[in-house]
């Protein structure tokens, strides 16, 4: 059997759902950041698959995936720096302890 666009979309949605589940349920901030990386990867898989199956002559989808990769790298750097700053000043990394903005 040959591979179709649907196969790649199933993989992308699977990764996305696992990432959403992790982001909703993990207790530690680092676990949530990891889940967000999984969501970014699901988007990248979909972009590359659409590029290959629907627009095989161009590389626009791959260029977008590269941009997303760069933004994800920046996001994780800033996120981890923020988590490190919170950990230094409050000694906490679990989400239920970091609710000072709840009012």
């Amino acid at each position: 059997m040959t591979l179709t666009l649907g196969h790649y979309l199933f993989l992308g949605s699977g990764l996305f759902i696992i990432g959403i589940f992790g982001a909703l349920t993990r207790r530690s901030v680092i676990g949530i950041l990891m889940s967000i990386e999984l969501i970014f990867n699901a988007a990248n898989v979909n972009l590359a698959a659409f590029n290959r199956f629907l627009h095989p002559d161009g590389v626009t989808g791959q260029a977008f995936a590269l941009f997303i990769m760069t933004v994800a790298a920046a996001e994780v750097v800033v996120g981890l720096a923020l988590v490190l700053a919170i950990y230094r000043s409050r000694d906490k990394i679990y989400m239920e302890d970091i609710n000072i903005m709840r009012g």
Partner: protein, 166 residues
Amino acid sequence: MIESIAFYMMAGVALGSALLVVTLRNTVHCALFLGLSLAGVAGVFGTLGADFLFASQILIYVGGIAVLMIFAVMLMGRTSDLTLRQVNQEWLAGLLVCAITAVGLWRAAKACLSATASGSPAASTRPLGRLMLGDYAVPFELISLVLTAALLGAIFFTRREAGGRK
């Protein structure tokens, strides 16, 4: 045929280790499996013929982000974290949200099961370079600005202030 086998293997690695990332208790193991999952996604890019994406996925994600995550886990970890419950009380609601989303995505993806690829994939590095320095020159410069800002922000957030105070 060989393409299908490669796709199923790589997709299995990516999905299986992604599941372990969100369910395991030991955060160090989670970070290691995150690296494995990202490597599986790189293999999926390989089956799509996206050679430059394959290389940069390994360089940026596996070599950069996963290692950064492991560093962060080791900097901020305590021994009690290794066995503590890592999932909060609302996991049932989270599962419900995921199930609803899954139904929608399933229906959308099922509609695309007839679209097959035409021809064999061409090398993409040269056209990507031309695109980045041609049509996408402005976003390319902007993204380097974003990276510089992120670098400065990370340094600003993590530096210790002079004068003894943390």
